[in-house]
Symmetry: D2
């Protein structure tokens, strides 16, 4: 049984502790946070879990196999690096690091330490994303034309990163996983509405080879919560509304048809409209499945499906997007490092 320590018990930490505590493949041995009142909260719910404000104590504990890091992103590299030095496996919250350089170094350090480096791209483990990937990979929707997402709500302004690093990172990880294609450039626009803060609204366009395009609208200052994705394909199209209690993913048998129109040497466009179908979506909590996957990969010595390379690919794009945003939308080319796999 995998013994984990969770570092950082803020917004996401409680979910990590709850899920690792509920699966039989792992146990939560310790929780570390610099705020004593947060540890108090851990103790009242989980009397058997050791709590500490000292990270070193956790690293020194030979009974702990893996470190689950849920702290602000600026601390990710240092905490993970120390964990590898101490011979621990690492689970890092998204975004993996504050920049690509740190990500590359962490991948190398994990390899050197022969330890697992996992990045928590939670959405990859949801029933909805698994179903969408299956539909795309199985050819059901044909060639993918575009991926369009709106991820907006009010709240949770982050102090250390802009909205791209917080919300768009979800979309970047999903697109990376679902489309299996690497963008060749990114254009981003956005603005900060609070003086001295990072951009709280941003729009990203990812350019791919061929005519595939992806676009994300991310916004911390919206009156309503939206989690809406459109995926257009040559055969079918998908609408994914993650806020729907059921029927999250709808597949539309709709599209255009092209026929030659000799008189003008142009394709004549027709429209096709058929049935809609909402496949049953597995409702298991994604984090639970992900925790089990992590424990199984540690046991087997195999990388998780959202490993350091997946984390790096996302960070590279977020970094480029931030540069584009600062340049009012000018495209930043992505010459992504080849996966070492």
């Amino acid at each position: 049984m995998l013994s984990v320590a969770v570092i950082g018990y803020g917004y996401w930490g409680p979910n990590l502790v709850r899920n690792f505590a509920s699966i039989k493949e792992a146990r939560v041995a310790a929780v570390c946070d610099q705020r004593p009142e947060r540890l108090e909260s851990v103790r009242s719910l989980y009397p058997a879990v050791k709590t500490t404000t000292e990270y070193a104590e956790v690293l020194d504990d030979a009974g702990i196999d893996a470190i689950v890091i849920a702290t602000p992103v600026s601390s990710h590299y240092a905490l993970a690096s120390a964990a590898f030095k101490a011979g621990k496996h690492v689970w890092l919250e998204k975004p993996m690091t504050a920049g690509a350089e740190e990500a590359v170094r962490l991948i190398a350090e994990a390899r050197q330490a022969r330890r697992l480096l996992h990045v928590d791209h939670t959405f990859i483990y949801t029933g909805a994303v698994r179903k969408i990937r299956e539909l795309v990979a199985g050819g059901e929707i044909g060639d993918v034309y575009y991926y369009d997402s709106a991820r907006v709500n009010l709240g949770l302004f982050q102090h250390d990163v802009n909205v791209i690093w917080d919300l768009a990172v979800h979309d970047l990880s999903i697109v990376d996983h679902v489309l299996g294609a690497r963008p060749i450039g990114v254009s981003a626009t956005g603005v900060a509405h609070v003086n001295g803060n990072h951009a709280n609204i941003a729009y990203l366009t990812l350019f791919f080879k061929n005519s595939l395009i992806a676009h994300f609208h991310v916004n911390w200052l919206a009156p309503v919560k939206l989690r809406q994705t459109l995926i257009g394909g040559s055969k079918k199209m998908i609408v994914w509304d993650d806020l729907e209690p059921s029927e999250k993913v709808k597949v539309y048998d709709k599209g255009i048809t092209l026929s030659d129109d000799d008189s003008v040497h142009k394709a004549r466009i027709g429209y096709r409209s058929g049935d809609m179908w909402a496949p049953r979506i597995d409702a298991t909590e994604a984090l639970r499945d992900e925790a089990q996957h992590f424990a199984a990969c540690v046991a087997a010595g195999k990388p998780t499906i959202t490993d350091g390379y997946a984390g790096l690919r996302v960070v590279e794009i977020a970094e480029a997007a931030t540069r584009s945003l600062d340049a009012n939308g000018q495209m930043v080319r992505l010459e992504l490092q080849k996966d070492a796999e």
Copy 2:
């Protein structure tokens, strides 16, 4: 009573004829279209209306006061110019012209002919947009932070223009009217999924002075129809869903609050969530109100609220956006001509 001739009886022409026929301030004297089968359709519904395939006949008819032009945009300039020469008032469908240069010339020709030049930005005359403008102008939502719109559906691919000139022109005219501010630059991305065709999906960002930003998603290849607009303000926020049968406009008493946080010399952000309110929206058909407004302005010799200058402002941005789209999002600065008003 204003006597009008409608030129072009395709998709929008029937709506124009029906509305001009139904108001007592005007009558439809003639309909002109090059396709005899379209005129057949006019005659069966409106036996009293004269039909012709010859534009010259309409221009020569001294009984006709105004020409309503609903033809493809490439023909707008020539048809309107000839109308002014014949001493007619002109109602032009949106977009006003295929480029800013033509728009500038038409404005001059209208002035010289002392005739009215009206551009059919229909949305400006809807109850929803009138209410939103009232809320913004009245200070109800405070400083406007952003305007975000999704206008997507399947169908009506245009052959002569890209999706910006078709769908985004609506948003450009609404933003021009509602915000009363002129953008200083535009960044656009998009792609064509049909070989040899114009872009069928596009994303536009308009930059304004201060931190106001506007963004439009326009798409001819979407599985569902969306007409969804978010407007964020410092006091309140608006959600406008034009497909809602009633309650199209919702005003949310939501937002952020800022308080000084001396320890870090940064604003501390709080969140505020109050009631929602959906004002009753006038459900009169916009085109009917607009036709009456046009007739009244002709009678009074005064410009309509969507005159040639309004049309020009929209065309200038659409033109710049198309250039930005071709440059993968690089911002194109807008040095808009001063209104001659």
Copy 3:
């Protein structure tokens, strides 16, 4: 080509005229209404249609084949009876008559005159109801357990009948057509909120043999418009929301499973939840299809699918439901006359 006269140009009359005018199988020869201002409205839209305030004129016109009656229900019997005497075919708006006795007499008079008697149960001709009937008849949903409908909105209080005769008649005709089963009793409750008026809110339960049950909520005084139907079956279940622009009919692969539980001699109930599927629904205007069906049946000398017997079955239940409503829900047994077919 069938030549029809439309009697009554109030709320529904214009739809009848428009549809009969638009099909090639029929023409509108005349419109009759006692209100001259309504006839004025006909003349401005249809200059070729003869208008009159005198019903006798229409009956005397040998060029007219069929009479389409869209007047208040209290006048239905007398108008239709006179039409049969004049040798005309008859299209009657729903409800067919003010009571079952009149309906029985009309059926006899139509037979004697050898003329067609059609009742306008428009919903039967919609794409949604046709699809639902196909699903039920094809065994797709298994045994039907219940049919539940809410048909509520604000407005159109009728002076001469209660809400059952106005709104529930739609549901009664749909159930008659879709389930193909005859209820054995009806229980109804309801109340009038305007002094001296008929009930404006009513609830009807239809009892069938076996455990099939149908229930309708009809209401003229609701803040929102609802047209929502649930159909539960042993295999699948249907949700029909007639206000959805597309995806009106959704088929859920959901239900219960029963297994023996010997310990308690009772069935153990399990739950099954699979995909949802929204078949494409034909969007043709129902009234247009119905007008064509009527014209074709007149030509062929065959009854329409909503003939006098269908009208009678609905009227019998509405009559019994009104009696039950007056008796605070006490069930009224239905000993329906056998169809003479």
Copy 4:
């Protein structure tokens, strides 16, 4: 601090334990259930809570002040009665008892023991119901014309009671609290679709003095979950959708207007349509507020707002409704006992 024991750790028990454990006014001293595996689950989450399969142990424990009973309804009377004999306060899940007679006896036993008898009508403590009651009591919606609710979903068939006793009891308690009026009769229809089981679908009409009417649709066999309530008033109307994440309660400034129409000695009905308003709803978990209210009332020696009388009123109607259902909708008069208060 109030020390409670929770009896029955099935579907609702965990929510009771979690909420009593989270408030500072109370503590969970013990959990009792006959199924050892359920107690195992308690121990893993709450190591400090005593667990037992023996109710007597709990009653004998002088350190326990109150018994929270969340067992099948058939056991409610015996368990509560024993608790009063042991000098404990009692919190009973809804429905209070399996019949009115038991409820009357429990009220008497509580009085004799000078202990509190509380019935868990949870909805009364939600922000939505509190807001609706405020709107009704404050006269905002005028005279209440009707209350209409649909409470349907798939699942949780109960073996010992019909759907009225499970789902409609919620609506009965809400109407009792919100309208503050007592029905004079009830008509119910429904049917069982599983052989040997109780009715799984039911429709209830409550008759009140004047023209107020209430109706509930409850259904365990529906393809979708609905929690939708319409409340019609002479001034305004309310739509309450409890599944909406926010904007649960919408107030419509809509209705009819009456004016004298001398010609026919009847009221002429007009329609009024104004703004819609969605007040902010307190999102605190109702059960938490209710637990605090219970603890405070025990401390103060005062009855809770959902005391034994409230429980009795609901049980009396459920009992009458079941009789009416068996009689196919025949109204059962309610000659409710006067409150002893």
